[in-house]
Symmetry: C2
Subunit: 424 residues, 2 copies
Amino acid sequence: MTLVVQKFGGSSVADAESIRRVAQRIVDTHNEGKQVVVIVSAMGDTTDDLIDLANSVSTKPPAREMDVLLTAGERISMALLAMAVNELGVPAFAYTGQQAGLHTDSKYGKASIVGVVPERIARTVNDGGVAIIAGFQGVNRHDDVTTLGRGGSDTTAVAFAAALNADVCEIYSDVDGVFTADPRIVPSAHKLAALTFEETLEMAAHGAKILHLRAVEYARRFDVPLHVRSSFSNKEGTWIVDENSRRYLDGNNEAPIISGVSHDKSQAKITVKGVPDQPGAAARLFAVVAKAGVNIDMIVQNTPTNLEGVANISFTLPIADVDTAVAALEGAREEIGFEKIARDDGVGILSLVGAGMRSHPGVSVKLFEALQEVGVNIDMISTSEIRISVVMEQKLLDDAVRAVHTAFDLDAEGEAIVYGGTGR
Amino acid sequence: MTLVVQKFGGSSVADAESIRRVAQRIVDTHNEGKQVVVIVSAMGDTTDDLIDLANSVSTKPPAREMDVLLTAGERISMALLAMAVNELGVPAFAYTGQQAGLHTDSKYGKASIVGVVPERIARTVNDGGVAIIAGFQGVNRHDDVTTLGRGGSDTTAVAFAAALNADVCEIYSDVDGVFTADPRIVPSAHKLAALTFEETLEMAAHGAKILHLRAVEYARRFDVPLHVRSSFSNKEGTWIVDENSRRYLDGNNEAPIISGVSHDKSQAKITVKGVPDQPGAAARLFAVVAKAGVNIDMIVQNTPTNLEGVANISFTLPIADVDTAVAALEGAREEIGFEKIARDDGVGILSLVGAGMRSHPGVSVKLFEALQEVGVNIDMISTSEIRISVVMEQKLLDDAVRAVHTAFDLDAEGEAIVYGGTGR
């Protein structure tokens, strides 16, 4: 029997009407003869409202209590959704993360899953019922409630899909799927029929708001096919699968060269100038940054031609972390031995992602030509096997995304160009 | 070491400011060197809001899901209160009913407590922390959440006070304690320093909005001293204790004759006329009513002097149950063999309660005289050892309560008359 895990985000269950619509979709899937396990987020802005409440009584809410507070949101939505499904004549039962068997470590607020024991869920669907599970939450070995952090409901869904050996994990939201670029910037962007796990990871890590990175990692590890789709329509969304399945879905053996263009305006650049050009200097510098809890992304080291014995090191990092990083570096000026620090909050990062890139030389040339045409001066470059990212001036980023999207023939021309197959 | 259980109702934790005020009180008690266990209800109207949400997605919400939904309210308030106490520098930990060890049967919506295993709570207070427990909720043997029904937080508080052998169970609300009568009807009503469990049960069962009956029963069974007081002041409230403690609190050996006058406008009267005056007729009649799930209170049977072989049977019941009772009786007309049914929704019940009544004859005479003076025609009478209740026309009820209150010298005259001792 087919087993489907369906995950509905907060915008899909924002009010009673949305909940009833989602319930109808669940019942429709059930009536197709499939077993259905549902993961649900808190309604709309509930989580933010609860955080506001916490801040109104505490300057530094204890993490354990914060977690028990936040899980109230999913408790409400799971119960309401189970009621709405029952109302349509299909037995449905709501389960907290604890009841569903999601065990985590004790890192409140960002717990890691240590195991899923889905016996109660399996029993429910085997008995013909629908199981509705609160996303984002689990239980630690002290019998205390934990949360997986923002976006943790996606990870919950993938974890149960893996543990139950589900045929698919459907991730519902208010968008139709994954697009070749952000449609707000590129109106001609089109929905992708399929992506590989790797492409999705690269896009998500470089600004595309698709899925929680962790959920995609989890899906790749356990080979759980994901289907990202809209809760407002019955249209196929975007499948995220392994490379072989993706070829099958595309109906041919050639992966498209480029799947999409993502962009990121949330990063800044720090350049540390006059670092001694000797072994270990960069290691000392990044040890200081890492110790301050700052995650960096791209790194470029170069040796100015007009100076001997010193190098400049540039790296990108979240804008929110710049002050922390600068303070940490200034505090270790003696130890590292640099001249000065320059920060640039006005950078933008454009990333071109595609599994076919591996076997197609010339991609970077075409990219640079497209960027040149809109007057972009490339500041830094980083690449992976299936991605090329460039750091540039942020004010040219939107133009650059559009130009690159066009250069790689990603612009949709009506329905005809909609990419790939029709899913399975 | 003194162990205090403090229970705060929804109005005491209605918003962030109230929560901070309650937290301060908890911390003050803790800083007096006492161990503090707190039971908290959902904030303000949260429970009603959740019920509305349930009704917006379901015409008949499943009881199991309703319970998991409603418990979200206490989950929020317990977490916020724990945060607010931590903010004041005292370690506090929030526990759900399940975590705290409150085990119930599986009657969702009105579960009974089957056991309290307060090890985790005891450990918390022994380690110097404050334990904050969600009221109103427990867990059944299937690991599912249950609720104890409205007012169940009082029962939760008493259950933990009993299980932890607490010195006192303080019940906080927005009123100063128990009054000799409803101050909205009798402006000269005064706060009682002490009441026995039995008096409290009689008053609560006959219209006084003091405490959940079940909580008082529980307290009496395990001899848990209750202290009903306001969360808005530090004034002593009303102690509810056994008879010996009450004498001690009153500072003398004589229990006051009358403790208070309660009234009830939520009852109606049904009179079944022309019932065969033979053994078993009344039994058949009340079997029919009981089978319909209707709780009746007072019963009077009389034999009209002008008719032979038939009797009239009158009884009081909640107004909401009248239709059900009448339908059940009409359906059993043949079996019971009565002539007709009369209903009266316009009745009021006045009850005079006092443990000293036992040893003082003449109470009923004084009561009837007071009622006569305001023109009350007594319809039915019922008595217990410490209570006399009369059914009358509802529109005269308020006048009657005031007249009786005065006749038994219960009117306060400034501070001088405030009843009894100052507590312990």
